[in-house]
Subunit: 309 residues, 2 copies
């Protein structure tokens, strides 16, 4: 039951050797979600052996080039690979004309359905839901319409206590019904509470993505208690002025958000090209929020499933 | 007096690990010309230490994504690096709306002049000329408007035979005049033929770029006797049918063009992603045109200056 984030690019605006522009893959139980798609995302998928064809949904935070210029090439490669499966791309206003023009002027004739879904950048909304995951968008504070995304694992079927099956001689229909959370009606007419025959629910894992944004407590409400938080940290704290001016955060900002949101772990990223050694950024963030790690191209961040007690 | 080609990407349509999409740098006497700009071109410039800021002119063959999707990111990076120098981009019809839309919807406000020059894809034309080089475009035969480019070194000032300076006691003005090709008038009134005081002209080097195109003898006239010819070779000859259908060439096609054009050396490229080992493509081309090399990401191809006899 995988829940794993892979960073494909950790650089802000201008790439640096070894640091591609922003893009991430989130694998939730073998469902692959692409988050942002800076130039070169398809090369990083080759580098890190991402099963490109399994991606059906892409989530775009905003329309600055370093978060979207990899989209036309990725879509074009899907088409050349004879993709037939539909592809959905979620993102703020402007994504439709950006993609339509880019694809049209480069003579693409897609053989699959491309669904571009405009996300309202002014309010919280659930944008995607299936059996495994619920994905919501929420407003960030950047220079242009920008949203963050939260990915929440959904409750699965309950697991039955094995000893109860033999104890009550449960049949297929009774077990199936209990898995869905219902109480069990025995042949005698006796009713067993669901909690008596099922194991306690597992912890449902969550991930929140916040890039790009200036420090603001307005979005903490949407990311409360997430297990894993990615928060942009373009600058160190001695550049707080510039960060604010450009709608970005510092390492201290990111760490304070993680602390106030009660996140399990913080992943930094979107580093300015001025920083060659990233360790000072990590140390600065850790001074506020201990469980911080650097987001780096090609690194994986797992959230382990917490087993039943 | 450099004349050097560097391949930034040798893959066709879909990238392969180690093979980026089409892009090349031609360095003519420290003037850097970018030819096509597939996705990831700016990463390759970092990988191969190309002095990105020195590029003032970009030449685009056609508008398929694998030749242009690196442009918005490159332009955006120039802007973020506070470029003020103008940038000129030459290419067939459609380049203006492609770039204008891509830049507009991603909120770029350029701080430098971007000049996009539409090249007529139906006829030969000189598109650029300075003291060092003349660059012309000529029609290729692909599925959409496509041009090739020829880069020709221009004749420089002549070199004076050192012994003639002392023999005739030539002064600054006489030397300067002779360098420009004039005969020398001595103080005695005697006239020395220019050829008597100057060294014979050096060989003027040339490079032609042909991608993408189906085999056609129509463009041989424009690339006759070039020192270096890059010709696409998407497929091996057993895929001649498919090559023709898709407007591409085989290794044999490329080699035949090189032979008929009397090129000095042939560089192959634009390989289909189906080929992992490229040696069979090289051997096939060499069976027709011996002086062939594989174009590979990061490799340099020099044309040495032929010294005076």
């Amino acid at each position: 039951m995988t829940f794993e984030l892979t960073i494909l690019g950790c650089s802000s605006a201008i790439p640096v050797k070894g640091r591609f522009l922003t893009s991430q893959i989130l694998n939730i139980r073998e469902g692959f979600f692409l988050i942002d798609c800076g130039e070169g995302t398809q090369y990083r998928m080759l580098d890190y052996k991402i099963p490109k064809s399994k991606i059906e949904n892409i989530f775009i935070s905003h329309l600055h080039g370093d978060h979207i210029y990899g989209l036309p090439g990725l879509i074009s490669s899907y088409n050349l690979n004879n993709r037939v499966k539909p592809l959905s791309i979620f993102g703020p206003i402007g994504l439709v004309p950006f993609l339509e023009n880019a694809l049209e002027y480069s003579y693409n004739h897609l053989g699959f359905d491309l669904n571009i879904i405009t996300v309202d950048h002014n309010k919280y909304s659930v944008v995607f839901e299936d059996d495994n995951v619920k994905i919501s968008a929420f407003p960030l504070k950047h220079r242009i319409p920008t949203v963050g995304y939260k990915f929440e694992e959904k409750s699965r079927l309950k697991n039955i206590k094995p000893e109860k099956i033999s104890e009550y001689n449960l049949d297929y229909n009774q077990i199936r019904s209990a898995k869905y959370g219902n109480d069990v009606v025995l042949k005698s007419g006796e009713i067993l509470k669901n909690s008596e025959v099922t194991l306690p629910p597992k912890h449902l894992r969550s991930y929140a993505y916040c890039s790009d944004t200036v420090y603001s407590e307005s979005y903490i409400q949407y990311i409360k208690n997430v297990d894993l938080l990615y928060h942009e940290s373009t600058y160190m704290s001695n550049m707080q002025e510039k960060a604010k001016l450009r709608g970005h955060s510092t390492t201290i900002d990111a760490a304070n958000i993680a602390k106030k949101a009660n996140a399990g772990k913080l992943i930094l990223g979107h580093y300015s090209s001025r920083y060659h050694d990233l360790d000072p950024l990590l140390q600065e963030a850790r001074s506020i929020f201990k469980n911080t790690e650097l987001g780096l191209d090609g690194q994986n961040y797992n959230i382990e499933l917490i087993e039943n007690e």
